[in-house]
């Protein structure tokens, strides 16, 4: 509902109509009455009505009757109905990717597919390794949540994860395992799990209907249509995400203790990659500059300090501060960064289209009313040069502190 205050002609009409059942309720609060000592008391607040600008108007012509109270707006938050599965007939297990600790769009589609397969008497179990930052698990269709402690699963530990999932297999014997067929981990984990369980999975599945799954085969020129097997690796947009129900995210525990094993693959950590070499369309972290950046040397220095890939708005490219291949937006590159820092970019609609797929947007701008600030998750209003300088110093302090801790 809009927050604009309006006169309500219907209430005014009820107030004039003495035969209307709501006539009494629509009468304005008494403006004056006789007090206990015979003195006339007046309530100046009861006079008049609230006009469209939120200002009190007093109509002394006698034309206005009733309807003085502000029309109450219904609260906008609608609680979705809760979907409760007390005794599930079967389980559908989903192992979301949780890139950056949150459900990706792919994960949400997958949960939607799981919900479709579970129907009204199956339960959707989500398995999450380590900590997560997602706070909308309930609205995305998670009936049960099995969360493993982070130790043993941090870093690259596919073998430990497969062992944990195999333990869950023994406990629940789920009807289906659903994993995202993605490069961010799900595709690999799902295939490892299928090899471990000895199940032939359906891969790159884009539809499961009536127990029949359709997935791309070969180089994508053909579809493989088969009875949906127990392990399904689904592509993006395999189903609509859950949107009409809320789910109890009931915690689930593994009955057996996980056995420790010696990993055959040892993770030695991430390798520093030159951010300028990463194609902009797939860079994870972009620092983008626009018309508000005056000191470009400082901007490049900030990008190097943060380890961010550089981007630019159209104005900065037209003015010759950045190459054309760095332009973000409708006529440049559509980026998919997880974190996008826009420095001095006001946010033309073409630019906002280009960053539509970004998760977190940070804006540094002088103008608190610009469109970029409306899009951003965190905005800092101020001079970009000073803020970038402070950011460089803060990161340098952090890096030095980290090095000292490690040594």
């Amino acid at each position: 509902m809009s927050e604009i205050i309006r006169r309500d002609p219907r209430v005014e009409w009820i107030a004039r109509n003495r035969l209307h059942p709501l006539h009494a309720a629509a009468q304005p609060a008494a403006v004056s009455w006789m007090g206990p000592n015979g003195v006339i008391r007046k309530n100046p607040h009861g006079v008049g009505f609230i006009g469209p600008n939120g200002l009190k108007r007093i109509d002394r012509s006698g034309g206005q009757q009733g309807g003085s109270q502000k029309r109450s707006t219904a609260s906008a938050v609608v609680q979705l109905p809760l979907h409760v599965i007390e005794q599930p007939a079967f389980h559908i297990v989903v192992v979301p990717d949780m890139v950056g600790g949150r459900l990706s769009a792919h994960d949400k589609d997958l949960l939607g597919l799981a919900h479709k397969l579970a129907g009204s008497d199956g339960a959707v179990v989500a398995v999450i390794f380590g900590e997560h930052k997602e706070n909308a698990l309930d609205c995305n269709g998670v009936d049960r949540l099995l969360q493993f402690e982070a130790d043993g699963f941090s870093g690259y530990a596919p073998e430990a994860r497969v062992l944990a999932l195999a333990a869950l297999e023994r406990q629940l014997t789920p009807r289906h395992w659903l994993l995202p067929d993605s490069r961010t981990g799900g595709g690999e984990l799902g295939r490892r799990l299928a090899a471990k369980l000895g199940v032939r999975p359906a891969t790159r599945v884009w539809q499961v209907a009536d127990g029949v799954s359709s997935g791309r085969a070969g180089a994508g020129r053909e579809d493989l249509v088969q009875q949906a097997p127990r392990v399904v690796l689904a592509a993006v947009e395999c189903a609509e995400p859950v949107s009409e129900t809320r789910h109890e995210v009931r915690a689930l525990a593994l009955n057996e203790a996980l056995v420790r094993h010696i990993p055959r693959i040892q993770d030695l950590g991430a390798v520093a990659v030159d951010p300028a070499q990463i194609p902009m369309a797939e860079a994870e972290f972009i620092l983008s500059g626009g018309n508000g950046v005056k000191d470009w040397a400082l901007f490049h220095q900030a990008a190097a300090a943060l380890g961010a890939t550089e981007g630019a708005s159209r104005v900065a490219v037209d003015d010759g501060y950045m190459g054309r291949e760095r332009q973000v937006g409708a006529s440049g590159i559509w980026v998919t960064a997880r974190v996008y820092v826009a420095v001095g970019i006001s946010g033309a609609i073409q630019h906002l289209q280009g960053i539509g797929a970004c998760d977190k947007v940070v804006a540094i701008n002088l103008d608190p009313t610009c469109d970029m600030i409306k899009r951003a998750d965190l905005s800092v209003i101020g001079e970009s040069a000073a803020i970038l300088q402070a950011l460089i110093e803060r990161v340098a302090a952090y890096r030095q502190g980290g090095a000292r801790d490690a040594a």
């Binding site: 085969a217 070969g218 803060r394």
Partner: protein, 257 residues
Amino acid sequence: MTELNIVALVSVGAHPLSGRPRRAEQDARAVELGLHLAGERLQVLHAGDPQQEALRAYLGMGLNQLKILEQPAHSDALPVLADYLADSSAQLVLTGSQAETGEGSGMLPFLLAEQLGWPLVVGLAAVEQVSDGVAQVLQALPRGQRRRLQVRLPFVASVDNAAPTARQSAFGPARRGLLTAEEVELVADPLFASAQLQPAKPRPKRLKVIKAKTGAERMKAATAKASGGGGQVLKDVSPEAGAEAIFKLLLEEGVLR
């Protein structure tokens, strides 16, 4: 570089537009990586039809011979390859990440590793060094990132598009190279008894479903600009405080390395 025994598994690919047989893109990258590491001593193995001319494109990359385990189409390549590799002295098996024809599920390296009991590295980008039976390798991650792994030999590794680009295939060596076929036991693949292949159609673009109940909400949904809605705005703060807030967000998202 090292005295590794490397076997690259190759398949016959299909051109994405014409569907004509060709060398498979990712398998060619696996051969390229193998040639980097082992040079002349790289063994290349294929399970399938020895008469297939497209296989000569691999020979044209500078190989003297290509070994073929002879099989008709739609037979199971896995047991044949697993038997062969178990008997060979291979220390590193390189494969592409999925085939361009047939099912193309990408399961072969996983099943092979499971059957042989070897570790599997997915998305191998480079082998940095091998010493004392332990290899230090770089794994390609999405978004151009790399991860360093240590893995004990022997192991299976699949390569994807992050591996070095395959060299061109030269015509003369492709003609001169030898395709040596070997008779093996045939195992039928049960998949196509229950599944069928259909020509794929492009998938429709997902429609934006607007669940508005009133006209005003529909109007709002149709005209709304992309907005996160309710982001935190820091106004009238010192540059240090602003930088601190940004720094905290970057750290929370884990993008500072």
